[in-house]
């Protein structure tokens, strides 16, 4: 075991898969000698050579396109989009193309591609770096969307994503890259995609979150505990497909739920979760399922992040509403 930050765990996962499978290729803008703008690919080109880990021209659509072409010749591409706000440049390659290849070819061609990309607020980035756009990806049939909240999950989920024979969008929250360390096994291990994890057990209300909001929920749960409210916190880990089994089991126990996301209310995936709960567990509910999310504006100017991003206070407030409904 070693103490790792999430970024180190991500590097470790890529190193593991580069070693395991000669078809794995890591590429993107500045991921080679530079080791990535966040050092996610540090040392990988030295270890595996330029044939395996390489820089590309500055063009996200081209990166998406060559990923598809490399997959058609039997490779297992792990491209990086430097910041997920730049996904618009490559929406066709991702949603219009790689997501559809298995289907359009009648299950004769597949796209074992893992698109890695950082996103997320709270670190004062310039425009279109921090936007939460997982909702766009989650709406596209043919993709899986994974968002880890800690180093241990990041490694196991990334290895599993790379091994998956269908395209996976792997979103890495920038604020979580180096915010804490935890024990991560040095050997390889995997975490199944599409499986949520109960981070904290509780009996009064279910908090469903992903990414940085998992930590805000845990903080809120601590405060709520002091007020005598026992919150169960679920980390989705995969936002498409969502593990509704774990959610419904929890809601049937607590009879109350709040879904928490960093994305704007009209974006993200919280509405999907609310819909599924009301379809499947309405008779178990003591109160409506509420959402914590950012306001429906464009992502905040840097200096306004603090007042704009949802935080643990917003969560406590919503839980109190649900408890006192």
């Amino acid at each position: 075991m070693a103490q790792m930050t999430m970024i180190q765990a991500i590097t470790d996962a890529m190193r593991t898969e580069l070693k395991n499978d000669e078809n794995v290729l890591v590429f993107g803008e500045d991921v080679g000698q530079n080791g990535g703008v966040f050092r996610a690919t540090e040392g990988l080109q030295d270890e595996f050579g330029e044939e395996r880990v390489f820089d590309t021209p500055l063009a996200e659509s081209g990166i998406g396109g060559i990923s598809i072409g490399l997959a058609l010749t039997g490779f297992r591409p792990v491209p990086e989009i430097q910041f997920f706000g730049f996904v618009y440049e490559t929406m066709d390659a991702i949603s219009g193309q790689m997501a559809r290849y298995r289907y359009r070819s009648g299950n004769t061609q597949s796209m074992p591609i893992t698109v890695r990309s950082p996103f997320g607020g709270g670190v004062h980035t310039p425009e279109l770096h921090a936007d939460s756009l997982e909702g766009l990806m989650a709406q596209q049939p043919g993709l899986k969307v994974v968002i880890p909240s800690n180093p241990y999950d990041a490694k196991g989920l990334l290895i599993q994503s790379i091994r998956d024979n269908d395209p996976v969008i792997f979103l890495e929250h920038m604020k979580l890259y180096r915010s804490f360390r935890e024990e991560v096994p040095e050997e390889e291990y995997t975490i199944e995609l599409g499986k949520a994890e109960v981070k904290k057990e509780g009996t009064d209300v279910t908090l469903i979150a992903y990414g940085a909001m998992v930590h805000s929920c845990l903080k809120a749960a601590e405060e709520l505990e002091n007020d005598g409210v026992s919150a169960e916190v679920i980390d989705l880990r995969t936002v498409a497909p969502v593990d509704y089994e774990t959610i419904l089991k929890s809601v049937e126990k607590t009879n109350r739920a709040v879904v928490v996301q960093e994305a704007q209310k009209q974006a993200g995936i919280a509405s999907n979760v609310v819909s599924e709960i009301q379809e499947k567990a309405i008779l178990h509910l003591e109160a409506p399922v509420l959402r914590v999310s950012a306001p429906d504006t464009v992502y905040a100017f840097t200096q306004a992040e603090e007042v704009w991003l949802p935080n643990h206070n917003d969560i406590v407030e919503k839980v109190n509403k649900v408890m006192n409904f």
Binding site: I68, G69, T73, G96, G142
Partner: protein, 347 residues
């Protein structure tokens, strides 16, 4: 413009004459005639409602088949939506081509060993993907290229430039063909760009570019053969612009070319017909006869008839089929929906 055979069927560039046997020359002619008949029959079948989406190909036989004839079996084709003939001559059964037209997933299932993807509808997407396939071949040190096709309108897309530029930067084993038939639906090529040629757009990517008489099958073949050789020899990708013309409408979905083309223009280009000039050339060498041509025509008609019948007999698609083709393993949401539809389909 690179040309070997003029409109009268005379060799005007003896030095560039490709090394083709008499049998090869006859085979090329056979394919062009067959494809012209296939186009005529496809238009008729579309009008009868027995085919769906169809983008006419008449006029582009030299451009489409001359370039395909220069390929090896190992080469990978990334076609646009008008490039079904190249797929057929690369090994896609006619029945599947018809199923693609109708909208059936079995039409897109490439048989084992047919290196291609189904026709790309998003104009430009095939270009960046072809750069990736060509890079893959380079990494695997394979004696194979990726070849991709787009039209004159397609050369205005961002993905067109990105694909050429990536292929150049990586030395990918890719050949890009722009079939300049002068119109993108109703928009003439002059409205796409102020560039005098499309071939010169290769300069922006630092790669080779060549403009070819796209009504001259020998020139198209020679240019593609040369580009293929350069690619596998590690000399980088090539952009080939073929100057060609479509005699029919853009697609069979209601486009009316009389709204944007003149009769004079049509008849000028009909004089350049790739089949007419190649027939004259072959006849002058005593390699072709009316009898042989009629045999090809009858064969094509019989094949079309048999293929459409086979397409008719293909089982209808079920929602559960579509679901099964989405992922290697059904995710939880689809598992649930699969059960629902399985139930519906059993009734």
């Amino acid at each position: 413009m690179f040309q070997i055979l003029n409109e009268k069927g005379e060799i005007v560039n003896e030095d560039a004459m490709p090394d083709l046997s008499d049998e090869d020359l006859k085979e090329i002619m056979k394919r062009m005639v067959y494809t012209r008949i296939l186009d005529q029959r496809s238009i008729a079948l579309n009008r009868q409602g027995r085919l769906g989406f169809y983008a006419p190909t008449a006029g582009q036989e030299a451009s489409q088949l001359g370039s395909q004839f220069a390929l090896e079996k190992a080469d990978f084709i990334l076609p646009g939506y008008r490039d079904v003939p190249q797929l057929i001559w690369h090994g896609l059964p006619l029945t599947k081509a018809f199923l693609f037209s109708r909208g059936h997933f079995q039409g897109n299932q490439m048989p084992e060993g047919v290196n291609a993807v189904s026709p790309q509808i998003i104009i430009g997407a095939q270009i960046t993907q072809a750069a990736g396939v060509g890079l893959g071949f380079k990494k695997r040190k394979e004696d194979a290229i990726a070849i991709t096709y787009t039209g004159d309108g397609g050369a205005s897309q961002g993905d067109f430039y990105e694909g050429l530029n990536f292929a150049g930067a990586f030395g990918a084993q890719t050949v890009f063909v722009v079939q300049n038939n002068r119109f993108a639906i109703s928009v003439p090529v002059e409205k796409q760009s102020a560039a005098q040629t499309i071939a010169q757009k290769a300069v922006a990517a630092g790669i080779e570019g060549i403009q070819v008489d796209g009504m001259d099958v020998l020139a198209v073949y020679a240019a593609t053969k040369e580009a293929r050789k350069r690619a596998v020899d590690g000399e980088g990708p090539t952009l080939i612009e073929t100057l060609t013309y479509r005699y029919g409408p853009h697609t069979m979905a209601g486009d009316d070319p009389t709204r944007y083309r003149t009769e004079d223009m049509d008849s000028d280009w009909e004089k350049k017909d790739p089949i007419v000039r190649f027939r004259t050339f072959l006849e002058s060498k005593d390699l072709w006869s009316e009898e042989e041509e009629n045999e090809v025509i009858e064969q094509a008609k019989a094949d079309v008839k048999a293929a459409i019948k086979e397409a008719d007999n293909t089982p209808k698609q079920k929602v559960t089929d579509l679901m099964e083709n989405m992922y290697e393993e059904l995710p939880s949401n689809l598992q649930e929906q699969y059960e629902e539809y399985k139930e519906k389909e059993s009734k």
